[in-house]
Amino acid sequence: MVDKLFEVIEEPISVEALIKKVESRNAGAITTFIGTVRELTGEKKTVYLEYQAYVPMAEKMLAQIGKEINDKWENTKVAITHRIGSLDITEIAVVIAVSSPHRKAAYQANEYAIERIKQIVPIWKKERWEDGEAWIGDQLGNVPYPTGKPEVKGESDD
């Protein structure tokens, strides 16, 4: 079986498995980003989250992000897995692993990946609170970009 570098799955994500996918004799640095379900957003208490995806397209978009990174930062390797379904507090929703000969690129490329995911990958999150639930969209009303550079926003909420 060939490892898929970019996938959307329903099972828990193994961080170690993603690190393995980007290992390389020429890598001096591997960064990972692990997005977890946080209990508090402002005053609101999340009970659990539910993620839904347009799976085949989401995997294509993740692969596109990987390609964008390879074009921007030399000799990087990228793997991304996003989980869907119902997730409890502290569970892992997404893992991004990037390896690079140099650490600066490993950090930059990793952060680029999460910003891009939030722009172009068809995955949606429903928050379930004690007193209700809602599908979350971009509160600023931006629409995702089909191509081109991401607009890297400042501190976002997750």
């Binding site: 997005g35 993620y51 839904q52 995806a53 347009y54 085949p56 397209m57 989401a58 294509k60 996003h82 929703a93 997404v94 999460i114 995911i117 939030k118 722009q119 172009i120 990958v121 068809p122 995955i123 949606w124 999150k125 429903k126 599908w135 979350i136 969209g137 971009d138 009303g141 931006n142 629409v143 995702p144 089909p146 191509t147 997750d158």
Partner: protein, 77 residues
């Protein structure tokens, strides 16, 4: 026939994850208007449209047999 996939909020509003539109061809802009008028879906203005799993522009032409997906603002990550 054109399949239209719905997700998230739109799926709940429509009560289904898939609609079918009986057209030979239609532009992205027109299909959004049609969905608004026929199904009263919200969020169409701020949604993107994907045709066969790739983002499409407003004037792109959708043909019978294509799979269309309405992509409201994403919130993964």
């Amino acid at each position: 026939m054109i399949d239209v996939l719905l997700f998230a909020q739109l799926q709940e509003e429509a009560g289904t994850d898939k609609l079918q539109i009986d057209k030979q061809s239609i532009t992205v802009k027109e299909i959004k208007r049609e969905l608004q008028e026929e199904y009263h879906l919200s969020q169409l203005k701020e949604s993107m449209v994907a045709v066969n799993e790739a983002y499409a522009l407003e004037d792109d032409l959708i043909q019978t047999g294509d799979t269309v997906a309405i992509i409201p603002p994403v919130s993964g990550g």
